[in-house]
């Protein structure tokens, strides 16, 4: 009952004109960012951050979370209509969404994505509201070993669950953790890797790393490709046809499975919307009744990835708000906004700032509904941005990167940092090293080191403490499983291939 009352107060807060305006701007900006192929969702949220410096904390967070949630939906339009995934998380929509559109049912395909985003968004937000307070109460029992094991789990998840080589992801993570260790250490006050540069004594701002690697790095990659975007098909007849109740009831299991997957993967730091989208599609490939038709324009193939990716947003907000641990690039930026406004999320958040927390949840509910309405009525207008020349938008993206970094500390040295990390981001793309582990390592590195060092000091250098305490021990088992799972999968696939090569494939 208390939760309902608090949520009601949260809705009242969101209906204040400033907050409502922030929500509307966030939804539109998120959609635009997701639609434009050269801009990624995280990059868009990073670029919006400087605009929040002059705002109060509530509209700032509402704006960024609204961008985050609508960004998981906007890219579906270009994936389905033009076969251009606005975000990596939209790639699974190419398989069935584009196939359905290609069969002459684009409006129906868009209707399925709308239903999926609506269901995933609302179900996950309701689950997050129900989970957050008990989770925060539970987290009050956490000590440094628990924090360390949870952060370690997040870091290993991003390595194990990502695409591409795990070795490269691990090296990328190590680089991120090293970046986080630059500066004066928090326990002994010793200077590390400052090279006599006074600014490095304060450490390297993770926002600078994000802006450089995600923003400038991506622009440099696109520039090397000559800003060539594939020619667009005719998109004048864009409309959305909502599925009938009978059709919806047929895919109820898919909606349920994908919502649960999205929420669970959202709770795991490191597993983002892209992973949820692919895992949900993979799950349908194994459990859906019509799985043999998957890839030919099946509603389940559209609904599963879209539901799961939208559902991760509310899921990610739970560890962010209750533990202060961001599980993705987007939530890391939102954490940055919290810190810039002098608030540290954590287990105490429901004691000190419950009004803000429920306003965020209320804005998520309204955001989901708002983005679906926008998707239904205004998408024709929004996808016009696809016709903007990429050279023009990219020039402004670089400008946003510079201003965003400069505004945070008013220091021109940060611009050099941006350029350096931009080039590093480009080299990462070029040599197929994922950027996400580096960024997450840089964000969580300080927290990881502090909780590790505090544990070691408190428990007289006894490293077994991470395994012997019930909660941290359980999480450490998950850490081991997360690392072992890809190796087991790899070995299983190799065994299967050998088995087929040995001539047993005919019988399979």
């Amino acid at each position: 009952m208390d939760v309902v009352l608090q949520l009601g107060t949260g809705f009242l807060a969101v209906f204040e004109p400033v907050n409502l305006l922030a929500l509307a701007i966030g939804l539109v900006a998120g959609m635009l960012v997701a639609v434009l192929p050269g801009l990624t969702l995280v990059m868009g949220i990073v670029l919006a951050l400087p605009f929040t410096y002059g705002m109060a904390i509530t509209p700032s967070i509402i704006l960024l979370t609204a961008m985050y949630i609508s960004g998981t939906y906007g890219g579906a339009f270009t994936a389905i209509l033009f076969r251009i995934p606005g975000e990596p998380l939209d790639v699974p929509l190419l398989w069935d969404g584009y196939a359905m559109a290609h069969k002459g049912k684009p409006a129906k395909a868009l209707g399925w994505t709308l239903l999926a985003a609506l269901t995933g968004g609302l179900v996950s937000t309701a689950a997050a509201v129900a989970m957050a307070h008990p989770f925060a109460r539970f987290a009050l029992k956490f000590d440094s070993p628990e924090y360390f094991s949870i952060i370690l789990f997040g870091l290993t998840s991003v390595v194990a669950l990502g695409g591409g080589s795990m070795i490269n992801a691990f090296i990328s993570l190590c680089l991120g953790l090293m970046l986080a260790s630059v500066g004066v250490d928090g326990i002994y006050g010793a200077e590390r890797f400052t090279f006599g540069v006074p600014m490095l004594a304060d450490g390297i701002e993770y926002l600078t790393v994000m802006v450089g690697a995600y923003g400038l790095g991506e622009v440099l990659v696109r520039l090397e490709q000559g800003f060539e975007t594939p020619p667009l098909a005719q998109g004048d007849e864009v409309s959305t046809e909502f599925p009938s109740l009978r059709e919806i009831s047929e895919i109820k299991p898919t909606l349920l499975r994908s919502s649960v997957l999205g929420i669970v993967l959202g709770l795991i730091p490191g597993a983002g919307a892209t992973i949820a989208s692919f895992v949900a599609y993979g799950t349908e490939a194994q459990y859906c009744k019509r799985r043999e038709q998957l890839g030919s324009g099946l509603p389940e193939g559209i609904v599963a990835p879209q539901t799961a990716s939208t559902a991760t947003v509310a899921g990610h907000m739970v560890p962010l708000l209750t533990l202060g641990i961001p599980g993705s690039g987007a939530t890391a930026v939102i954490l940055g906004a919290f810190l810039l406004h002098g608030m540290q999320p954590g287990p105490q958040v429901f004691i000190n700032n419950s009004g803000l927390v429920y306003a965020i949840f209320a804005s998520l509910f309204l955001g989901v509904i708002g983005m679906c309405l926008m998707g239904y009525f205004a998408i024709k207008l929004l996808i016009k941005v696809l016709y903007l020349p990429e050279a023009v938008t990219s020039a402004f993206v670089v400008l946003f990167c510079f201003i965003g970094a400069f505004a945070a500390r008013n220091n021109l040295t940060d611009l050099w940092m941006i350029v350096s990390f931009g080039v590093i981001g480009y080299l990462f793309e070029k040599f197929r090293f994922p950027i996400a582990p580096m960024v997450l390592g840089c964000i969580l590195g300080t927290q990881a080191e502090n909780s590790f060092m505090t544990s070691m000091i408190s428990y007289q250098n006894d490293w077994t403490i991470f395994f012997t305490r019930p909660i941290s021990g359980t999480v450490m088992v998950f850490v081991v499983l997360a690392l072992a799972f890809p190796a087991i999968r790899h070995l299983r696939n190799e065994y299967r291939q050998r088995w087929i090569a040995a001539g047993n494939g005919r019988d399979a």
Partner: protein, 187 residues
Amino acid sequence: MLSHIRKNAPYVAVFAIAAYLYYLARQIDFAAPGGRIGPDFWPKAILLLAMATCAYEVVKNVFFGKAGGELAGVLQSIVAEAPAEGAAMTGEEQKTYPHLLLSGIAMTLVYVLLIERLGFFLCTFFYLTGFMLVGRYRRAGVVLATSLIGSLVFMFVFMKIVYVSLPLGQTPFSEVSFFLMRLMGIR
């Protein structure tokens, strides 16, 4: 041979950097009470892990080549098992323009180098114009108009509304900034 060098170069570079940083980490100055681990422990542990991983990858590439296989993340295997349309994720070979990339990086460096001297407005105007041209957009009127309007709007929004003190430049270029500030009512 060349592809071998290209494949191993990033790991060798990371190994070398990590080894140098490890050397620096050994010289971190601190006083830890008896038995406690110091502030050098964490970076050293990470650097050792990074070096070991790089060494493993180089040895695997040199001695086992393709037979060594690649341990991929879960997402990669899901993509590999997905329908044929999934090829879109892996991407086809695309034509590249290294001279555009080098020009873009050079221009960006020049922008950062000159912004304190020219001031935000002038430097940004030239940068936007140059970047769009380097990005192969050739409609001069649109380029000039968007660069001019963009620079002015950014200056107005960030100086007047968000209160960021953007660089004004040195004389005589600062006069342009002051003139525009007067025009926009920025104090």
